[in-house]
Symmetry: C2
Subunit: 225 residues, 2 copies
């Protein structure tokens, strides 16, 4: 479902070039459960923003479900993204003035589907936040905001789920609950790719892509426990 | 240096009360190295905001260095905070328009001390970000932003250092480098208190306060490894 060939991303900062991704190639089949790991600054979020259709590469190609996503217009990419991908951002990206409930409902309003209040309640319950549904982000703890971001990515039941450090602010028990949600969705056939810096979280996945300095250092299957 | 007695914090949300801290008592001596752990939403950040003089309790008392900080005016609390405390926020709280360099310099401007460019360079180098000093927060990875927030907390060489999940976005190796900085400052006599959800990080500390539902569940020394 995802095919990346020699993908590159260089950020331009004034007159300086900042190479973040220096030619990465791999593919992910439908229904895989992949972890992306690597040091801080090694290009993980940059890669996920590219394969999540949030940004354009500066070199190489990216085929999503048979379509060359790297050459699409912004509007076409946004359309694909809203229909196919659920995205949990590293910095949550919640709208500060909306309640948890309304933040989770947002993807339905973007994709033009009817507002399914039960789907929002179900997503809130899945991440353990029924009692915080009327709080705005500032009225939530760090880990609660993160869980709202996870619920928002799940609510439209997308076939592909990307999470950028989805358990970074969660204690071990709550993090395990979130990984159980991802594992359940994967067992239903969803393709799940998560960035994590925690080895225990990566062990819930079936394959680990390790990055270093904008390059893919290794691509290995997780041994059966 | 820190004495907390029956400390309480209830947030008011419209007509609803949200009890975040329900009567917590403990003390920390000068030069201790303490970890605060507990489930997401258990009141850790609320506690750290109170003992970091960023917010007022709704009950109980808090004595910092012999002064009753719970009864001070906002201006007096800000004065104590700028002189005595370095604070690493869970959400970094960097100013989006300023470069990493200028964000780190900020505490010097607040406390009225002279701008020591070498201290800023030294702090950038300590967290491994010399090459990113002109990037603004949006031009930095999640873990790099977190390291700028850490450098900013260290630059004024405060006697007390608070970190709220300071390694939440850092890979294991970079997280260990940051904990080495905290350990070095503690060995020089600084009081260090960090909130973490990672047991490996808490093992670098000497004592663990565990919270649950706004109460202190346990207070134990870390066994010597
Ligand atoms: N401004 C606020 N208004 C209302 N409720 C709040 C506010 N800030 C926090 N809360 C609530 O108080 C409780 C404790 O929040 P706190 O941020 O202290 O938790 P935490 O232990 O730091 O959690 P995490 O590990 O997820 O960061 C949470 O359930 C949260 O929803
Ligand atoms: N908009 C930007 N402009 C310039 N440089 C950028 C920009 N965004 C990221 N970078 C740089 O590109 C490099 C890779 O960033 P990226 O966010 O992909 O790293 P990461 O692996 O996700 O790191 P972390 O684990 O800390 O989140 C970093 O060194 C960062 O400074
Ligand atoms: Mg990142
Ligand atoms: Mg918190």
């Amino acid at each position: 479902v995802i095919e990346v060939k020699d993908l590159k991303k260089t950020y331009r900062l004034g007159s300086v070039d900042v190479p973040a991704l220096n030619g990465v190639s791999f593919s992910v089949e439908e229904g895989e459960f992949v972890a992306i790991m690597g040091p801080s600054g090694s290009g993980k979020s940059t890669l996920m923003n590219l394969i999540g259709c949030l940004d354009r590469p500066t070199g190489g190609s990216y085929i999503l479900d048979g379509t060359d996503a790297s050459r699409l217009s912004d509007a076409a990419r946004a359309g694909i993204r809203n229909r196919k991908i659920g995205f949990v951002f590293q910095s949550f990206n919640l709208l500060p003035k909306l309640s948890a409930f309304k933040n989770i409902m947002l993807p339905m309003m973007y994709s033009g589907e009817r507002k399914d209040v039960n789907a929002v309640k179900h997503a809130l319950e899945a991440v353990g936040l029924t009692k915080r549904s009327h709080h705005t982000p500032m009225q939530l703890s760090g880990g609660e905001q993160q869980r709202v971001a996870i619920a928002r990515a799940l609510v439209n039941d997308p076939p592909i789920l990307f999470g950028d450090e989805p358990t970074g602010n969660l204690d071990t028990a709550t993090g395990a609950e979130i990984m159980a949600i991802f594992q359940k969705l994967n067992s239903e056939g969803k393709t799940v790719i998560i960035i994590t810096h925690e080895p225990e979280i990566a062990q819930h996945c079936k394959r680990i892509l390790r990055f270093r300095d904008g390059l893919l250092e290794s691509d290995e299957l997780v041994e059966e426990q």
